[in-house]
Amino acid sequence: MITLEEVNKQLKEKRVLQDISLTLQKGKVYLLRGHNGSGKTMLLRLLCDLLQPTSGTVKKPSYTYGVMIENPSFIEHETARSNLKFLASIQKKIGVKEIDSSLQKVNLLEYADTKVKNFSLGMKQRLAFCQAIMEDPDVLLLDEPFNALDDDNFAEMVHSIQEMKKDKIIVIAAHGFNLSEIPLFDEVITMNDGKIKSVESI
């Protein structure tokens, strides 16, 4: 469980997150929605320690994280597999077999030895999702994961997330308001101007 209590974040003069109090539980998929600049990405960065709060507390055990924040970025002149191998070498939890099985899950195994610079945006998006899930993290934080996906890959990603949700905290940030209609989310958190406007269970 992750608990945020009265969390504020200020960057220079701007308060990007204001009085955020929230509890995130394992086994649930959260949709974090709001307009551009509403603070969704900042909240995701704060959840995975990329940023520290200016005030307030974030209580959580030592979780492992799989993140997909901003545009998918990789070493362009290297292959998909070597990018993933490099990232896997940091925690040394998985080997080539697991990497390949993750690539299979996102339908990229046949492109494993293709240089990332030759990937389309949708393929890069799937590769970013692959790096996020490959080490079976406790917390999955996905920022606009469905961008640039065709219908088939969108359905496959939704299916993968559904399969994984049992023992994970999954937070998906998106500005598409009709996403809440997908039978994937357990709670919808709506943000506006750095504040949580509402939390609704589905």
Binding site: L11, R45, C48, D49, L50, L51, Q52, T64, Y65, G66, V67, I69, E70, S73, F74, I75, E76, H77, N83, F86, L87, I90, Q91, Q131, E135
Partner: protein, 222 residues
């Protein structure tokens, strides 16, 4: 290191060979290429200076692109092992690429040795100084990255600083700290190596300090 950079580097060495043909190919050619100075006439030679700058631009761009490609993965690396792991990854990739540059220099030295059948005392200093100077510049590049400076701007800054420092070093030896070698390197070599090492330690401390969560990394995360 891309194939394009290797071709460019080879091109510079070949060009250097061709413009030095009138003096005969000699191991000291490499010394002049590194210093941009002709110690026979005791003057800066403009084409030496330009070729020296050309090699420096390639060295720096090799290191810069290596840092940039790893830095692009910063969110994925930092969430796996923290900001210190990110810095470790950057340092490791910098050292790997500097070693490749040193290996290329080694090959060129051997090539010159087989042609001229003589060896220069500049070799040892050049190898050590290249390693220390490029490490110092790489740490400066990492520092700029941590402050959110864009790739092209940081590359331009470093190249400009190197070009100016190389020029000034002919008159003020202290500027040799941030270039590989300059005129009168024999006289100042020990002091220069010490200055470079101290510079690296200072840069390293700043980079480690700024890589802590809540410090300047936040600028990049914005």
């Amino acid at each position: 290191m891309t194939r394009k950079n290797i071709v460019l580097l080879s091109g510079i060495f070949l060009l250097y060979l061709s413009v030095n043909n009138s003096e005969g190919v000699h191991i000291s050619s490499l010394e002049r290429l590194a210093t941009g100075y002709n110690d026979v006439t005791n003057k800066m030679q403009f084409y030496n200076y330009l070729l020296n700058l050309g090699t420096m631009v390639i060295y720096i761009s090799i290191i810069e692109s290596a840092i940039a490609s790893r830095f692009r993965l910063r969110n994925y690396i930092a969430t796996r092992g923290g900001h210190k792991t990110l810095i470790n990854c950057l340092l490791r990739t910098v050292i790997q690429h500097i070693c490749v540059i040193l290996f290329i220099k080694q090959v060129v030295y051997l090539f010159f040795y087989f042609i001229s059948e003589s060896f220069s005392s500049f070799y040892g200093f050049d190898m050590l100084s290249t390693f220390l100077t490029l490490s110092l510049l790489a740490l400066f590049l990492i520092l700029l990255k941590l402050q959110g400076i864009k790739e092209k701007l940081s590359l331009f800054s470093i190249v400009s600083i190197t070009a100016i420092a190389q020029f000034l070093s002919y008159h003020y030896p202290i500027f040799s700290t941030i270039v590989i070698a300059s005129a009168g390197w024999q006289e100042w070599q020990a002091l220069m190596l010490v200055c470079k090492s101290v510079g690296i330690l200072i840069m390293m401390s700043i980079v480690i300090f700024l890589s802590k969560p809540g410090k300047i990394m936040e600028v990049v995360e914005q």
